[in-house]
Structure formats: structure tokens, C-alpha cells
Symmetry: C2
């Protein structure tokens, strides 16, 4: 019963043929328990949401149908098993549905919706693409079919229309270029024009059109969703204003006391100094009330993370001020803050890189490793001596954390390795980790080159949303892996070539004799367990040589198996990879074109006006050096008025835009296109605009 070991449902089960498959009862009970949990969640959900909303939500319907189908499958499989017939657990491919429907998977659902909306547009382009492929297939058949040409492997070349269609589909993915052209090219050079035309039309133009259509839809859809959200926010805020408003003079306003109470309720963790700052911004004239325009901005104001910076003295300075302020100590601090200090360490890293590349067997080099490690530790200690530790390890000081963690990890791993080696026990795993950590240390070079830091920061910035794609890919991979495991399980085996078994050369299946699959030693690419399947699917996503893998599995089963691989290519490479590219493009454009939003600029202006600001750039680019300068000059600023005293001892700055989520960035990007304040669409209008969206986001 090879199926059971997979039914355990761990996503990263280690492949191990010696693993004992768990009993059918155990897995069934686990599954029934899970289903009950999901069902319970659904029932609870139905209780807290209005009937109408609940039944309109695709998410709930999906879960319900999946639960029922899984139960049916379980019953059928159980009864078949009872009479000793091996059934197929087809419902396993549906499992990702539960994953998608968690509230936390909002982004994945959004991407799925985006795909669903793109399908009609994609479909026609795809049909036209297939039509073009058909025309070219017919041409190839007529041009080359009767020539009695042979491929490099000696098989007939372009004689069967189905084979031609498959070869041409592979050519679109470029995986068999230029081999597929060579026999015709050898016959006459001008036949190469046929292939070049084909590649220009189908690979370059059609594939770009796919990207364009997907990207265009992605953007359109995103814009719609964000519009809806913004409209909804505006509407709710107006409703709130209408409840709280009182008439002062000619206009309706909200009183200061009311406003304070409201903020305390909706954002209980806002500090009182932050609240004061918000009030100053909302009530510009200090009239004791907030007008409508400023009230509607409240949600945006609360969304902007304002960081209160406490500028503290270095603990050593408080502890032993004389020593810390001595000329020798000040010299050290100046040295560490100097540019040359950074450069010296860059050179050290470079030398380190050369040592790593050299052979490690030499004991001198092994000692050098300790030298480098201590140099790095000295660097960190010096920095901690110079900069205030709690600021150095501030929440947003990504690079400092990165630096320190890498070095501590390398230290620990090196120590562990030495200990193990001293006991004459050589663990490959530990050594591998030590080696990787030692090399990762070189990444510190990025920190000292500003342009590199900007690019990496942008990439890290879009990281969380990129994980959405991780989730999406996992869902699709899982479904394909389950199907692949059902169809191709056990057809191909990896046997150690060292064993000398003749079967090892044909992956345990004589059908693969002389195939490119066996010749390429691809036996390890099989569907025998989940890990192998996922790695194989990754290889298929990279595209290259996918036709050889497809051919291999077709040989051990049936030619129709190629459809599985073509289907995977269409879904993953044409759809999902293009969405991924569209996402990266959009994220980069947003990051490039982003200016501060109107609301943010207002806050920043106020912070500066109140004299409690720290320039964002200083903190961001100059590390802590400039921050320390700000400490010195901040209090000697020209103003000494009342306003400032209220907020004294605290410095504010807007949390750097590099830590915003892509969602915020996008919302900001489309902000300008949202209807002006005057226009006030009714709630009904908004809901009918995109009814599902509202559901998802309210419930999630």
C-alpha cells in the first residue's frame, strides 16, 4: 500500500523506502478528525455571518464541497480496501482547498481570483497560438515529412503530425533548440528560416503577449480591488463622522474630547505622545475640534507608523563617564565611525573570500579562519562600544541584525565542528553548514555599497508578498504532485549505479533502454515520494530538458502521459510564472515611482514644525553615525516654544517606506485615481462593484 505513506499528509516527509506505512485506520481517523475540525469552523462561521453573505461566499461553498467529496472518497476507498481492491485516493488532490481558505491566505485567494479573471482573455490568445502551431505543424509535415531525414538519435524526423506538434510545442519552450532544426538545416540552410520564423512568432511574440495579457489583467484587477477598499473606507469614515458630528459655527465638526476617545477605542496601543502628535496634525488651528476633511484622514493617519525615537546615552557613558569620554576612547569611537574603518573590513572580507577559495586541508588556512572570525567579532564589539546598543539592535536595523547573527552562527558552527572533529567524528552535515555560514559572511560586503543595499532592500521589501507566490505555487505543485504520484508511482527507480546492477542504467525499467532519460542519468527524477515529486516539478518549471523527462515517463506508461507535462507547463510556466513576473515588475515600478503620499507629507511637516523630527535619510543611509549627530544638535534647535515642550524627550520620524508592505504601496499608487472627496458613492454601489471582495476582507 504505497498510497498510505503519503496519506500521512506531512508536506516534507523525507523519502525513505524503509519507512513503514502507517495503518489505514490511523490515517483515516486523522483525516476524519481534520475534516470535523474544518466542518466545525465552517459551522461557526455560518453562525457569525448573515445567511445571505455566507452562501454567496465561494470560499465557504468550496470548503463544503471538498469536505463532502473527501468523505465520499474515504468511504469508497475504505470499502474497496476491505475487499482487498486497491482504490485511488483521488480526493487528496483537493486538499490544498483547505489551505487556500484559511483567512491568512487572502493573498493567495486574490491571486487565484486574478487568474480566474484572466482566463477568458488568455483563452483566445492560447487558441490562436494553438492554431498557429497547427499551421506550422502542417508545414513541417509537408516540407520535411517525405525527405527521409533522421534525427541525431537515428529516429525518423518530422513524419508524424502528433510528434511534430509535440516537438513544436517543446520548441516554444526552447527546450529542444537547436537540435530540432539541425537535420533540416543540414539539408538546406534556408529551411532554418522556417524555424526562425516559428521561434519569432511563437516563442517571442506569443509568449510576450501572454505576459502582456496577464500583466494587464493583474493590474486592472488589483486596481479594482483597491478602489473598492478605498471607497469603502471613505464611506465608513463618513458614517462615523455623521454620528459624532456637532455643529460649531457654520460647519459640522468633531470635538476634541470625542476624537480622543475614538482614537483610544480604535487604537488602544497608541502612545499618548503619538496621540498628541495626531491631534496637532488633525486640528491644525488648535481650535479644540477636528473638521470633516481631517476626520476622514484619521484612518490613513493611524496607518502611518510613526516611530518614537528615544535618544539614550550609551550605557558606558552613564556607568563610567570619564573613561568613555577620555581622549583614547573618543579616538576609538571616531575611528569606528570613519569611512576607512568600513573599507578596511571590506578588504578583510575580500581576503577572507580568497582564503575560502583556497584548499582547506592546509592547517595554516584553518588557523586563518579563526583569525577572521575574531576580527569580525572585534568589529561588532567596537561598534557596540561606539553606538548605543539598544539603538544598534533597533527593530528596523536589519543590516546590523544580519551582520551579528551571521557571525554568531558562524562562530557556533565552527566551535561545534572543531569539537566534533576533536572527537574524531566527522559529520558531513555540520561541516556543510559551517561552510555555508562561512561563505554567507561575505554578504556583509553588500552593506557597505549603497546601491547594492538599495536593491537588496527593495527585494526584501517585496519578500513577504513573494511568499504569497510560494503559497500559490505550493498549492498547484501539491495538486500536480498527487496526480503524478498516482499515475507514475514506482515506474522509475533510482538504483545506486555503484551496485553494478544492469537495471541501474535503465532506472529499473527496461522500457527506458537507450532513451535520453536513462542516458542523462535522470533516474532520481521520479514520482516515488512527495519530496522527489516536488523537486521534479521544480525542474519542469525551469523548463529545460522537460521534454526528455516527459518522454521518459511516456515510455514507461503511455504517450498520453505527455499531456500531464504539457498541462503542467501551461498552468505553471505560462500562467503562474508570468503572474510572478508581473508582480515583480509592478512591485519594482511602485518602489521606483513612489513619492511620499499627501497624508505622510502632512505628518512629516508637522513633526518638523514641532521640532521633534529626525530626518529619515539620516537614519536610513548613515547608519547610526548621523543619528548620534542628531542627538547632539537636536536639543540646541532654534525653537523653544510651548508646543515643543509638550513632546520633549521624544523624537519622531515616519517609519521608513522600505518597511511598507506592497499592499500599502499599491494603495498609495492608485490613491490619486480615486474619485475626489466630494463624490460619495452609496454603500450599495460599492458592494455591487465587487461584492465578493468585501466579504473576504471583512471576514478575514
Amino acid at each position: 500500500m504505497p498510497g498510505n505513506s503519503r496519506a500521512a499528509g506531512t508536506h516534507h516527509s523525507r523519502p525513505s523506502s524503509s519507512e513503514k506505512p502507517p495503518d489505514l485506520e490511523v490515517t483515516s481517523i486523522a483525516e476524519v478528525l481534520c475534516l470535523t475540525a474544518f466542518f466545525g469552523r465552517l459551522v461557526h462561521f455560518a453562525k457569525v455571518t448573515p445567511q445571505k453573505v455566507f452562501w454567496k461566499d465561494t470560499k465557504n461553498i468550496c470548503v463544503m464541497v471538498t469536505i463532502v467529496l473527501t468523505l465520499i472518497d474515504l468511504v469508497i476507498y475504505g470499502s474497496l480496501e476491505a475487499v482487498n481492491i486497491r482504490g485511488v485516493r483521488w480526493s487528496r488532490a483537493l486538499r490544498p482547498v483547505f489551505l487556500i481558505n484559511f483567512p491568512e491566505s487572502r493573498q493567495i485567494r486574490r491571486t487565484f481570483r486574478s487568474i480566474r479573471n484572466t482566463l477568458p482573455d488568455i483563452l483566445y490568445v492560447f487558441l490562436l497560438f494553438l492554431f498557429s502551431m497547427m499551421i506550422f505543424s502542417l508545414m513541417a509535415l509537408k516540407l520535411f515529412g517525405d525527405r527521409d531525414l533522421r534525427t541525431v538519435e537515428g529516429s525518423p524526423y518530422f513524419t508524424n503530425i502528433l510528434d511534430i506538434a509535440f516537438e513544436l510545442y517543446v520548441l516554444v519552450t526552447t527546450a529542444n533548440s537547436p537540435d530540432v532544426m539541425m537535420p533540416a538545416y543540414e539539408l538546406n540552410w534556408w529551411y532554418s528560416l522556417y524555424f526562425i520564423t516559428y521561434i519569432i512568432i511563437n516563442t517571442y511574440i506569443f509568449m510576450s503577449v501572454f505576459l502582456a495579457v496577464i500583466y494587464n489583467n493583474y493590474r486592472k484587477h488589483l486596481k479594482n480591488e483597491i478602489h473598492t477598499l478605498a471607497y469603502l473606507k471613505h464611506h465608513k469614515m463618513t458614517e462615523a463622522f455623521n454620528i459624532l458630528k456637532v455643529k460649531v459655527g457654520t460647519e459640522f465638526v468633531v470635538k476634541e474630547a470625542q476624537w480622543r476617545r475614538l482614537v483610544k477605542v480604535v487604537a488602544p496601543d497608541v502612545s499618548s505622545s503619538h496621540l498628541e502628535l495626531l491631534l496637532r496634525i488633525s486640528d491644525e488651528g488648535q481650535k479644540g475640534h477636528v473638521d470633516k476633511v481631517n476626520f476622514l484622514r484619521l484612518a490613513d493617519l493611524l496607518n502611518i507608523r510613526v516611530v518614537a525615537i528615544n535618544i539614550k546615552k550609551h550605557p558606558l557613558e552613564t556607568w563610567m563617564p570619564r573613561v568613555y569620554q577620555s581622549s583614547a576612547s573618543l579616538l576609538v569611537q571616531k575611528m569606528v565611525q570613519h569611512r576607512i574603518f568600513v573599507w578596511v573590513y571590506d578588504v578583510i572580507i575580500l581576503i577572507n573570500a580568497i582564503f575560502i577559495a583556497l584548499d582547506e586541508k592546509d592547517s595554516l588556512i584553518s588557523y586563518a579562519e579563526w583569525l577572521f572570525l575574531s576580527l569580525y567579532i572585534i568589529e561588532i564589539l567596537l561598534k557596540l562600544y561606539t553606538y548605543e546598543p539598544s539603538a544598534y539592535f533597533g527593530r528596523k536595523q536589519f543590516w546590523n541584525w544580519f551582520d551579528t547573527l551571521i557571525i554568531i552562527a558562524a562562530l557556533l558552527a565552527t566551535v561545534a565542528n572543531t569539537t566534533i572533529q576533536a572527537r574524531k567524528y566527522n559529520s558531513q552535515q555540520v561541516l556543510d553548514i559551517v561552510l555555508i555560514l562561512r561563505i554567507l559572511r561575505l554578504l556583509r560586503v553588500i552593506v557597505s555599497i549603497q546601491r547594492f543595499r538599495v536593491i537588496v532592500t527593495t527585494l526584501i521589501n517585496i519578500g513577504p508578498t513573494m511568499l504569497t507566490f510560494g503559497g500559490l505555487v505550493l498549492v498547484v505543485y501539491y495538486a500536480f504532485a498527487i496526480i503524478g504520484m498516482e499515475v507514475f508511482h514506482g515506474k522509475i527507480h533510482f538504483l545506486d549505479p555503484g551496485s553494478g546492477s544492469p537495471d541501474a542504467l535503465v532506472c529499473g525499467n527496461p522500457a527506458l533502454k537507450d532513451s535520453a532519460f536513462a542516458q542523462g542519468r535522470y533516474c532520481k527524477n521520479n514520482f516515488n515520494d512527495l519530496a522527489s515529486s516536488l523537486i521534479l516539478l521544480t525542474e519542469l518549471t525551469v523548463v529545460n530538458q522537460w521534454h526528455i523527462l516527459a518522454d521518459g515517463f511516456a515510455l514507461v506508461t503511455h504517450q498520453a502521459a505527455k499531456l500531464y507535462f504539457i498541462g503542467f507547463h501551461v498552468v505553471v510556466v505560462i500562467l503562474i510564472v508570468n503572474i510572478f513576473i508581473a508582480f515583480i515588475l509592478e512591485a519594482f515600478f511602485v518602489a521606483y515611482s513612489l513619492e511620499k503620499s499627501e497624508v505622510e507629507t502632512a505628518i512629516e511637516k508637522k513633526i518638523q514644525e514641532l521640532g521633534v523630527g529626525v530626518q529619515e535619510e539620516e537614519v536610513q543611509d548613515g547608519g547610526l553615525i548621523d543619528n548620534m549627530d542628531a542627538k547632539d544638535s537636536g536639543f540646541s534647535a532654534d525653537e523653544g516654544d510651548n508646543k515643543k515642550k509638550d513632546l520633549k524627550g521624544l523624537y519622531f520620524r515616519i517609519a521608513s517606506k522600505k518597511y511598507k508592505t506592497v499592499d500599502t504601496l499599491l494603495q498609495q499608487m492608485f490613491e490619486s485615481e480615486i474619485a475626489p472627496e466630494g463624490k460619495d458613492p452609496s454603500l450599495k454601489e460599492i458592494l455591487s462593484f465587487s461584492p465578493k471582495k468585501v466579504n473576504f476582507d471583512n471576514s478575514a
Copy 2:
């Protein structure tokens, strides 16, 4: 002297080893003549442009430097040749400079400028990418270097840092996936994570970032150029207005007579009815003068192609009205106009496709070919009977022309083929053409599916600008081909494997013994003549197997030869292909998001007001059927006023947007972002904004 046969300079010289190389004198004289011509052109240019502008123009400097360098090269080569030393004609790689600097190559220059502006941004991403590759190379060396692993070919696996770096660069292009992973994967499955991480970071993320950076710059640059153009237009029109204006009442205007004269001068080929129409639009109140706002619009008005449609009766109707209007004849016309007529022919095309796929040797099928051909001819004749011929073959009736030309070509080719075969002379070339034409006929299916037609029209629309890329690619290919021919000429030969020569298996070079290059039968991929070089470079652009080609040429020369191939990949695949994709994306977005421009809508409104309009959609979508309806109803419209009589007998419509160039589309797209009319930047401001642009476009 193999160099000489290439010095002849024909771009498409057929490869032929028996071709006799022309004398050195002949080619030299030809070259000197060409240089003189280019120099003369430059002198003429210098005379007609102001000194300052001339010397600021990079274009002129480039041409001058190239002429001087070519002359120096020619002299050196000649003198070396005189003393029998074989020189290198290095200046040949510079030849495309002349091509770029023709006024007609404005688009190519624009793309080059765009690339130049992108370089600084790309550079840092590229350096970071190389840094990441270095880190991964070091890791690979440490992880796999000491394991004594072997590749499928039996060579050592990941032992040398330079080899590793090359393999990893190839992996970025995906060309050696998954082969490069297999030995490590066989050792332990978790090593595959190293490769998957590498591919995610370097292939997916970095390559997308390259696309994003290039696309972003492309857009920014384009926007700048179009802004400058629009500002310049506005400025010049204001200047013209200031010269022509007279004061009427409180405002300055241009008198009708003046205006007429101006239009006659700047656009002499505008018909008088068209002029009348423009005047009606510009002088809305028919006050006898044109105000400033309308005057400034004149350039836009003249840019819009207004088509005057003469609706004529069918010649048969004039010639023999009774027969043409008889009930039988009307039935035929109704039949042809019916939807089912289209469907019947779609089915015929489908059956035709099946017949084509079947074996042709059968004489029955060969007769069927004649049947299909006559069916298609009957279709065209019937359509010509129903629709007015000069309208059917109107300038804009792309699909009708396509239809008819394909069928006439197929007819001619089939007749030619039959004649030749009857004389027992079987020409492969003619047969190939017949086969291709026969299959191209199937493209007619596209015409009857509306969604397909839209996609194809969009593609045809961006076709002309796509040719720009053809030019760009040709320039880069030519330079690389010349270098490749100098370095690799004669190293690899294609020998007919049928000859039985043992050298045929190693491409005439023993260094290739047992190489993947020879095993893949890639001998025909060489740099022995220009055609082969260009085909080889195309294969390198497609990327797949490029490392095998690079390896092959490295084996017959030196490992450093791989740098040539890496350089080609960076320039063509990373830069140019990404610009191509950026262009297609942009063109598609423009086509998707395009609404009619303000000015166009005004004209259309006027045309409708005057009662002389034909709905664009009618002509466009319904073919001629609706056009005929318009003929019937057009004159019975409600209005019969004076205005209409002036323009009687003529119908106008705005030339469909599908025939606009991408330049117009882009200009229109950015139109909204141009400063409002009130703001009037000085000419100096505009010129300093982008000084080069103005030069290029004025002189071109």
C-alpha cells in the same frame, strides 16, 4: 584570403565555398567610394545646420570617427597585404554605425539612446548578480569540490572555481538544468535545495529585476522624449499664432483667409472638402476667424487622417441594372452576405486542412486540391459580385487583400508546379512554395473569428515598430558576426556525413572528438560565412544549448572564447530581448487602454453634426455589408440644411485607429500628462530639457 569574400559586404551572401573571393583592389575601391559618399553627406549636413548644433550631435561625431577609423584600417590592411602579412579588418565591425545614422533609423537611435540611459541602473544590478554568483560558486566549490563526483560524461564535477562560475552562469540561462544538479542530487536529496535556491534567486528574481529596470527606464525615457516633442509643438504653434494674429474685439484671432492660406502651404495635398471640414471644426461659430485654442490644435487636426468615402454603385448595377436587381441576383447577394456563407467556407477550410494532412501521393487527393482552389476562387468572385469592387479592395481592407493574394499566389504556384511536373522536371523549391502557400490559405479562418482578428490586428499594428527591433538586432548581430568570423573562421567545418570521412564526425577538427558539440551534430553551426554566423547567433539568442556551442568553439580555440558567448548573452538576451519584451508589453497596454483622443472626438462630433459621417465600427467590423446599408440610409438622414450641401456626395470617417503607428499611440497616451495650455515653457527650457532629441528630429 578568406577575409575577402566577406569584405564584399552583402548582408545575405549565400554560403558557398566555391565562390571566388573578389580582388582586394575591387573591394577597397568600393569601400573608398562608399566612404566618400558618407563623407560628402556629412559635409552637406554641416553646411545646412548651424555649427553649434552640428558639433553637438553625437550622430555626426560617430560617423566622422568611423570614417577616419575605416580609412586607417584600410591603409594598414593594404600595406600589410602588400608585404604578404594577413591583417585583421577590424573596422568592419563598425560598419553598422553608418546604418544607424541614416535619418530613417531614428527609431533605432532612440532605442540605442534608451539602452545607453539604462546602463548605469543595469550595471549595479548586474554587479550584484555577479556577486551572488560568486557566493554561490564558492559554496559549490566547498560543498561539492571534495566529493569526487563525476558528471554524466565522466568529467570531474565542480572542482575548479572558473568552471563552476561558468556552469552557474549557464544555469541562470537554464540551459544546463537539471543535468548540472543530478550528480549532487544523487548523492543526497537535500543538495537539490542549493540549486533550487540558486535558480529562484538568480534566474527568477534577478532576471525579472533586469526586465523591470529596463522596462522602467524604457518608459521613463519614452515619456521624456514625447513630452519634449509635445512642448516643442505647442511652442512653435504659439509662435506661428503670434505672427498671424490680428485683434478682433477683445481677443487675438487668425482670419479665415490667412488660415486657409496657411493650411494650403503646410499641407498642399489636403482636398478642398477636407479643408472645409477642418475649418468648420476650427471655426465653430462660423465667425470667419479662428481663435488661439483652435489654432494651436491645427497640427493635431492635420495629423488625423480623415478618409473621404465615395459610395459608388456596383459597376454591374450601372451596366445592367435589371439583371443585377433581378430576384435571382438579389438572392445570391443575400446568400453571400449571410453568416452561413462564412460558416460554410470555414467548414471547407477545415476539410481542406484534413486533406492537406493526408498523404499527397494519392491522385484523388491531388484532384481535391483543384476542387478546393476553385471553391476559393468562386468565393472571391461571389464577393466581388455582391460588393462594390473598389470598396472591397479599398486601401484599408487588409483582410480582403490578404484573402485574395493568398489564393492567387496558391493558384499561380499550383499551375506552375503542374506545368513543371508535366515536363517531368521536379523542382523542390517550387514544390515547397506551393506547399507553404497551400497551408497559409488556412489562415483565412482567423478572419471569421472576431476575437482572433482583434489580436492579429493588434500584432500587425505594432509590426512596423517591431521592425525597429529587426534593425537593432541586425546591427548587433552584424557586429558580433564580424567578430565571430574573425576569431572562429574555418575552425569548424560541416562535412557531409554521407561521405564517410572520419573527420565528418568531429566537424573536421580532432579537438572536438567526444565533445557534446560533435555528438549533437552541430557542425553546421559555424562562423564560416555571414549566413551561418547569423543563424548561429539566432540559436544563441534562443539560449538553449548555447553552452554546448560555446564549449565547442572553446575546444577548437581557447577557453577564453567562452567570454564571446557570455558577452553575446549579456548584450542580446539580457538587454535587447528584455527591451523587446518591454516594447511589446507597452504596445499592448497602449492598445488596451486607448480611448479616442480629445481632438479626434471633436472632429468626429463635427463630422456627425454635418451629417456626413460613416460609423467607424460599421466599416471595421461588419466588412462591407453594413457599409452598403449606410449607403441606403445615408441620404435619407433628417437634416437637409446648408452645411450638408457644401460637402454633399462625400462621406467622412476618421481612419480607424488600428492603422495608427505606435508613436502616435504613445503620444496620445502621454498627452494627458502634458502641462495645461496656460503654461508655456520657453524654447530654451525645452531645448535644455533634452537637447539631443530636438536635433535628431528636426534634421531627420
